[in-house]
């Protein structure tokens, strides 16, 4: 049984499927993320495939600041991904809100809504840094004990458990 669990862990490490969500980014980070899939960086050599479907995805890549509208979308995407999963926040805006941090419509970084496993700083980060971040997330994915199971209930989708509604 232990060998099978190890094999599954190895397979998780070898076959992470990405879901990329642009949470209101300026497209700078998104272009760098897409650059990772081109022949120059070729993410598919790590078995990484860009799937457009949260039900198939293992890694959620999020770029851009969260605002009051798209935080529901972000939480929804996160909750639709079957466990185990990791979240990678990309770029200054995704980490903390970046230069939009104090704006009235901005909630802040991704981690105000969903639990983030890896932070990739930069404005925008280089494709090498993004690949590094994803690989770091995969190390967490291999051991399995990453983020919440969906049995623990949805995250951030309702007003009550949203950090914003508590702090204001």
């Amino acid at each position: 049984m232990r060998i099978w669990a190890k094999f599954i862990g190895y397979a998780r490490f070898k076959s992470p499927w990405l879901l990329h969500f642009d949470c209101g980014s300026c497209n700078g980070c998104d272009i760098e993320i897409l650059a990772c899939l081109t022949p120059v960086y070729d993410l598919e050599r790590f078995g990484i495939v860009n799937v457009g479907n949260p039900l198939h995805a293992d890694v959620l890549l999020v770029s851009g600041t969260v605002n009051h509208r798209n935080r529901i979308v972000l939480a929804n995407l996160f909750n639709q991904m079957p466990a185990p999963k990791v979240v990678v926040a990309i770029g200054a805006c995704g980490l903390s809100g970046g230069i939009f941090r104090g704006a009235y419509n901005v909630v802040g970084g991704i981690d105000r809504v969903v639990p983030v496993d890896v932070y990739v700083p930069g404005c925008p980060p280089r494709p090498e840094a993004i690949i590094d971040g994803v690989r770091l997330g995969l190390e967490k994915l291999r051991t399995g004990g990453v983020t919440l199971d969906s049995k623990d209930g949805p995250i951030g989708a309702t007003e009550e458990n949203h950090p914003c509604s508590r702090t204001n």
Binding site: A11, D42, E44, G47, V51
Partner: protein, 282 residues
Amino acid sequence: MRSALLALIGLLAAPLAGSLLIGLDRILTARLQSRIGPPVLQPIFDVVKLFGKERVVVNAWQAFCAYAYLAAVAVAVVFFFIRSDLLVIFLIQAVGTVFIVVGALASASPFSQVGGYRELLQSLACEPLLVLVIAGIYLETGSFAITAVDRWPQPLMVRLPLLFICLLFVMAVKLRKSPFDFAACRHAHQELVGGVLTDYSGPFLALIEVGHWFETVLMLGICSLFWAGNWAAMLALAGAAYLAVVWLDNVTARMNWRLLFGYAWLLGLPLALINLFWLYRG
């Protein structure tokens, strides 16, 4: 005893061969795009990972359809390995297709629904061709049994070349290759998300993936019948057919279902009928 052994080989070796073939396909595709590409075992990693994921289903029907599809294609492959009847194999794999459609339509997601309808259109377009190919084999050998094909002194290819082209066409559709990959496609996530696979996830997606391995082997097996009797020629023919389909996948763009019908019924059916008429006269 012999057929039980052959059935076991079919059940174990067919998915393994299918997964390796798909791994090679992914490497070849990557090289054609000047990328390095994933390791050859990538499809196996994908499936093992999917089996290790959390179970999420839309409804019980969906899960049932995944099991039914896998069972149908696995039984079809077993029947092929024990050299059974071609018509029976055709009907069993058609049952698999039906369950893919039912599973897709069981969910309310518009992408899944669109994928389901497109899958239905695909089988409407290419299954008549497959039946005509089998009819051609019957006209030539006088039997639907694969054992009769094995014993036939002359390769079927000599007398059924146009039907072989039809079979290649059907194979491109069944293996979900461009330009006919509009029911489910990894690369179409902007327009279709996952087509019929949209609402499958985790272990159930893995079951469908394993079913696809079986289907790949089944289609290549039917291809290899066209040079039955000589093992090297069978393998070479199946390999060449697979290469042709991978090449087609890489050089063409996805088309819509009207064009699929155009090609299948205005080009494929006449080709098949000409070949059948020729067989009937000769």
